[in-house]
Amino acid sequence: MSVAGVTETTQYLTFKLDDEVFALDIAKVREVLDFTTVTKVPRTPDFMRGVINLRGSVVPVVDMKLKFGMSTTQKTVNTCIIIVEVVVEGESAILGALADSVQEVIDLEPNQIEPSPKIGTRLKTEFIKGMGKRDNNFIIILDINKVFSADELSLVQGANGLPAASDQ
């Protein structure tokens, strides 16, 4: 049983958040950086970690773990920033996603991808494109455009005028 929209073998970049393995369509990934200094933008939700300097451009960095309700990503030697290209409100934008570690690039056939379960992932279903089968484990394939959709990021916009809702 395959997932609608996935009809050919696609390459995915896998990465870990805590112990769970996630994957991203490689076509969306620009590059992977080591964790560098992130400048926090005041009065924004915690999962918006801030901005970094990517060769002269200012690129926002999102903490996916916080976004998915896990703990804050701690800096380790393996911590990476995955630079992805997403479409926000019809325009493409570059942003960085924090990951505890980046694993490998894998090929997945359409028949290796299962539809996402309604419950059990502790993630919003629309964030998940499908579940990739590999060996005996499942990999959560993220729909990065949904994760960083305008609605999700509107939390940022909620921070105007008054203290952000995500205050300690």
């Binding site: 451009s57 570059i94 105007n160």
Partner: protein, 719 residues
């Protein structure tokens, strides 16, 4: 295909300029209808639009402009005098051409209203052309009477053509001989002389250049236009002069004077060709022997030509030369190329700052020296590259001549537009973006601010209202003022509207200053206009004006006095790309405060720090200075540092202190956008990259202050 697009693109940019030129000229002629320079410029602009629209295949534009050109040609030849009616028609034609260009480049069809307008304008043009033809006859008749007793008109019935092709004509793919061949197909060449005066010596001669000039006597029944059209493709670079039959001697003299060759030799040629009689020339030659003067002067003495005519001709040539030299000193550059350049200079500034820091760290004397020499150069390059993008604000201002004129025309008001400081320079992007908000403000002032002449008279004011546009530089900003001497803003009306809309409550009004009340007009949904007119009260409102200006990191202020007028002043940064900033540290983060807002820095003394929970103002040399604790505002959780400083910033005339942990000093901040994700963040206007590669945020002081105000209101309201 691509090339055609490219040519069209060039045509589009140029046509905008030409149309603007036409408008400027027409407006100038309202006050000075007989200025030949303006008339010529006007004709040239229309002619160029016609010609180039033909080349890029915009036939509708070409056809319509042709009629305009014919009319202007008559004006140019002095057969028709510009008056208010003609100006009105021509202005409408100009607008029509602009719309035609727009629809035809879009590939849309000419239909509906636009087509009707076109037809109407065309018939008006033709009417004017016809009317003037009758006048023509009168002028001709009177000319004959004048000419009879003197020898001012030459006897020849031939056309005289002077051809000086540009040296590049062969390289451009044109052959002069084919033009001459073509001429012999539409008439008879009576006489042809080839001039080789400009031919250099054999060593210097470039066989691919054309050095020849031609003088022709030409007999034809066709009109000047037809002959002129023969040279359509070479007219730009070449000197083509056509004198109709029976031209006055003075036009021949002017011709001789304007050509590069020896006047005497030309004179002989003219006689040989039969353009002038020997006696006319003899008289001139004789004089020349006696006085060694130049042909022009001789003819003047001989009263063949009036001195003013020669003077005018000479003056005109001189001016033409000046204009030409100016033209050759400017080049048209794609704005993208400039942007790239500015971007790279921005990177250079960052890298330079980095090198400086490294040099500081290493404490190597010679390295420090070179590093500082380099930063000086980089600074110079930065300034130059910024200047490249600077254009005079007049580019926008002159547009309003027409706007104001039209408003007067439609509403019956009398308004004088006064422009001050039009040559104040500002970044091209700023000019583009400020155009719409300014248009709105000008229309508002003219439409709502200034009263009708009777109303003004009743108030004891001059019937003619004054609308001023001022621009000047002030503390790293450009200030643009729209000043009118009209009715002023009506405070009661604003308050009433604001109450109706529920934007305010009664108690708030009690505490509001006049300035704050006037500021309400920039809020959405508050229009004090009683009726919506053709000109304003629709489309963008004052709130959009404010938003547009704030998007440019600018501010807008309004002051007003009842029956004295209203002043709206807009304050904009000179450039959008780089600012001089003051780097401060709060906790682990660095922030940049725009340097032009920083007044001074003072230490936050121990006594105040201890009482920090109670109040947030200090005594600054006897002045009350309220301060904001940025750390609290930004919810930075780091510990309170040992020393805190206050950066005093001035904003809209009042001072605020910002409490920060560290003062790092001045930096040049290349402004980077935070991107769409952070587009609605308040208190931060952008980011910049520091010498060490980290990102620092640029503080938006006005917004910070308003956030602090809101938070304080929350606290006080809950008490």
């Amino acid at each position: 295909m691509e090339e055609v697009d490219l040519i069209r693109q060039v045509f589009l940019t140029e046509s905008v300029e030409h149309l603007q030129n036409i408008e400027d000229c027409l407006l100038a002629m309202e006050t000075n209808p007989d200025d030949t320079d303006t008339i010529n410029a006007l004709f040239r602009a229309a002619h160029t639009i016609k010609g180039s629209s033909g080349i890029v295949g915009l036939e509708i534009v070409e056809k319509f402009t042709h009629n305009v050109e014919s009319l202007l040609d008559k004006v140019r030849r002095g057969e028709l005098r510009i008056n208010a009616d003609i100006t009105e028609v021509l202005l409408k034609c100009r607008d029509h051409i602009a719309s035609l260009i727009e629809i035809e480049t879009d590939g849309r069809l000419l239909e509906g209203e636009l087509k009707a307008t076109g037809e109407a304008l065309k018939s008006e043009l033709l009417k004017l052309l016809g009317a003037k033809q009758e006048e023509d006859k009168k002028i001709e008749a009177s000319a004959v009477v004048e000419a009879a007793p003197s020898y001012n008109a030459s006897e020849t019935s031939n056309w005289h053509l002077s051809l000086r092709f540009s040296q590049n004509v062969l390289q451009d793919g044109m052959d002069p001989i084919s033009f001459i061949n073509y001429l012999s197909r539409i008439g008879e060449i009576v006489y042809l002389a080839t001039l080789t005066d400009t031919m250099p010596s054999l060593e210097e001669m470039n066989p691919e250049n054309c050095y020849l000039g031609f003088e022709l006597e030409f007999k034809t029944d066709f009109d000047k236009k037809t002959i002129d059209d023969v040279f359509e493709f070479v007219r730009e670079d070449s000197q083509i002069r056509i004198l109709p039959p029976h031209s006055s001697v003075s036009s021949y003299v002017e011709l001789i004077r304007s050509l590069p060759e020896d006047p005497l030799r030309l004179g002989e040629l003219l006689v040989k060709g039969g353009a002038l009689t020997q006696s006319e020339l003899d008289a001139a030659l004789q004089e020349q022997d006696e006085s060694k003067g130049r042909l022009g002067e001789i003819l003047v003495k001989d009263s063949v030509v009036h001195p003013e005519v020669v003077e005018a001709a000479v003056e005109k040539q001189k001016r033409a030369r000046e204009v030409k030299s100016l033209e050759s000193q400017t080049i048209r550059v794609d704005i993208n190329k400039l942007d790239q350049l500015v971007n790279m200079v921005g990177e250079l500034v960052i890298t330079g700052a980095n090198i400086n820091q490294q040099a500081q760290r290493l404490q190597d004397g010679s390295l420090l020296e070179s590093a500082s020499a380099m930063s000086r150069l980089v600074e110079a390059i930065r300034e130059r590259s910024m200047q490249v993008r600077m254009v005079p604000i007049n580019e926008v201002f002159t547009r309003f001549n027409r706007v104001v004129r039209d408003i007067c025309h439609d509403s019956g008001k009398e308004i004088e537009l006064v422009i001050n400081g039009g040559d104040t320079e500002v970044d091209k992007t700023v000019v583009e973006k400020i155009s719409d908000p300014l248009m709105h403000l000008v229309r508002n002032a003219a439409d709502h601010g200034l009263e009708m002449p009777e109303a003004r008279a009743a108030k004891g004011k001059r019937a003619k209202g004054v609308l001023k546009l001022n621009a000047f530089h002030d503390a790293g900003c450009i200030v643009i003022e729209v000043v009118d001497d009209g009715a002023g803003l009506n405070k009661e009306k604003i308050i009433k509207k604001a109450l109706e809309r529920g934007m305010l409550n009664q108690s708030q009004i009690q505490t509001m200053t006049d300035g704050e009340i006037y500021r309400l007009i920039f809020e959405a949904g508050l229009s004090t206009a009683e009726q919506i007119t053709k000109l304003s009260g629709r489309g963008v409102g004052m709130d959009v004006v404010r938003k547009n200006i704030e998007a440019l990191r600018g501010t807008v202020e309004v002051s007003s006095q009842e029956n004295q007028g209203t002043t709206v002043s807009i304050r904009l940064p000179l450039t959008l790309a780089i600012i001089d900033g003051f780097l401060v540290g709060i906790g682990d983060s660095s922030f940049v405060i725009p340097l032009d807002m920083v007044v001074e820095c003072v230490e936050l003394s121990e006594a105040y720090r201890e009482s920090k929970d109670r109040r947030s103002y200090i005594n600054l040399r006897g002045e009350v200075l309220p301060y904001l604790r940025l750390k609290d505002l930004f919810e930075e959780s780091s510990e309170v540092s040992k020393y805190e400083n206050i950066v005093v910033v001035k904003y809209l005339g009042f001072k605020v202190g910002l409490v920060v942990d560290n003062l790092f000093g001045e930096v040049q901040a290349v402004i980077k956008s935070l991107g769409r994700l952070y587009k609605d963040i308040e208190g931060v206007s952008g980011a910049t990259i520091l010498g060490d590669g980290t990102v620092a945020l640029i503080l938006d002081i006005p917004r910070l202050v308003s956030i602090a105000e809101k938070m304080e209101h929350l606290v006080t309201d809950s008490q």
